[in-house]
């Protein structure tokens, strides 16, 4: 099961700090 992060800004900062790539999933599915 993928653990999607929804704290976008923090996730992007963490990815940069950890030198990891990011997979951004834009969805319009209902919450």
């Amino acid at each position: 099961m993928i653990q999607w992060r929804e704290d976008v800004d923090a996730a992007l900062e963490d990815a940069a700090a950890q030198q990891r790539p990011v997979l951004l999933d834009f969805t319009a599915a209902p919450a």
């Binding site: 993928i2 653990q3 999607w4 992060r5 929804e6 976008v8 996730a11 992007l12 963490d14 990815a15 940069a16 950890q18 030198q19 990891r20 790539p21 990011v22 997979l23 951004l24 999933d25 834009f26 969805t27 319009a28 599915a29 209902p30 919450a31």
Partner: protein, 141 residues
């Protein structure tokens, strides 16, 4: 997948401003970005599972090229060809495998070999047309 990426889900109904800020025009859209924020690959629109997986593998390949690892990129593209040969990602993978080999070796034979490979497989694809410029005339072979 979480080993390869930090997976981030953006629910655009809740955060519509992030579409423009992060460069998405439609949903569903998947964007693969390097740690520096540079886009390596994107998937726009719905895809069935195999086609989606093929595109993700393409994304890993493009990411590897972006990060200066063409040999690793070649492996990702080869993975698409070996495991998902019937998907729309496969012709693109064949093209970029050739590019990766060239980038890793600086040997133009890698590009000529790729053009020849398209004569055998995926010859009707757009990627075959893109590789046509690499063909070595028969008399020169």
């Amino acid at each position: 997948m979480t080993e390869s990426f930090v997976p981030v889900r953006i629910k655009v109904r809740e955060r519509p401003e992030l579409m423009e800020r992060l460069g998405a025009q439609w949903t569903p859209t998947i964007i693969v970005r390097g740690p520096d924020g540079k886009e390596a690959h994107r998937i726009e629109g719905f895809l069935e599972a195999d086609d989606f997986l093929g595109q993700l593998l393409l994304g890993l390949g493009h990411l590897a090229i972006q990060q200066g690892h063409p040999a690793r990129a070649e492996e990702w593209f080869a993975d698409v060809l070996e495991t998902l040969p019937e998907t729309d990602a496969a012709p693109e993978a064949q093209y970029w495998r050739g590019v990766s080999r060239y980038k890793a070796s600086n040997d133009p034979a890698a590009l000529a070999d790729t053009a020849r490979a398209f004569e055998e497989r995926y010859s009707d694809s757009t990627w075959a047309k893109k590789s046509a410029i690499w063909r070595v005339p028969a008399a020169a072979r």
